[in-house]
Amino acid sequence: DAGVTQTPRHEVAEKGQTIILKCEPVSGHNDLFWYRQTKIQGLELLSYFRSKSLMEDGGAFKDRFKAEMLNSSFSTLKIQPTEPKDSAVYLCASSLAPGGNTEVFFGKGTRLTVV
């Protein structure tokens, strides 16, 4: 079985550019998450979808970050415009069911560098 697939694995953007990160969740999973990972802040939730509906989008990230689920097997995270402080690893994750005891599966992430 394929796990969570994220593309690209690395992205370099100039300040002010628009970038789009892509994610394919595990087939059949209903919940999808976007997290930002940095050494200082650890893992921060950006967005949470359940059955393609946006359940939560992290308040601090609302202005320049927009996640969408175009269908149950594909999601994008758009950052517009990018700033150097956005340099981080962006992780996508999915889960089969919303129960509290359900395992969450992560992709390997996209490492974004904004110069």
Binding site: M55, A97, P98, G100
Partner: protein
């Protein structure tokens, strides 16, 4: 709201010595606790999760016990191996949060020969 605290950002120890990584939490709901491990350039993966019936979960020599009285879920291993070097995250969820995880800040474990 929910929160998870991992007090050590970095832990370095010698192969063969015991490992203990701390995790405490706060939640107004009955929580499920998890440990995720991330090796370099890899995806975070589930290492352990708490059971509802007080069983002690174990995997790859690691174990953790959920102590509701002290709101803790410390990760332990009796003898560290070089391959244990990785980033470890403690995380929490509950039935009201669905599968959404609240993570601690992470502990980077380095095991030296």
């Amino acid at each position: 709201g929910d929160s998870v605290t991992q007090t050590e950002g970095l832990v370095t120890l010698t192969e063969g010595l015991p490992v203990m990584l701390n995790c405490t939490y706060q939640s107004t709901y009955s929580p499920f606790l998890f440990w995720y491990v991330q090796h370099l350039n890899e995806a975070p993966k589930l290492l352990l999760k708490s059971f509802t019936d007080n069983k002690r979960p174990e995997h790859q020599g690691f174990h953790a016990t959920l102590h509701k009285s002290s709101s803790s879920f410390h990760l332990q291993k009796s003898s560290a191996q070089l391959s244990d070097s990785a980033l470890y995250y403690c995380a929490l969820t509950h039935n009201n949060a669905g599968a959404k995880l609240t993570f601690g800040g992470g502990t980077r474990l380095t095991v030296r020969p």
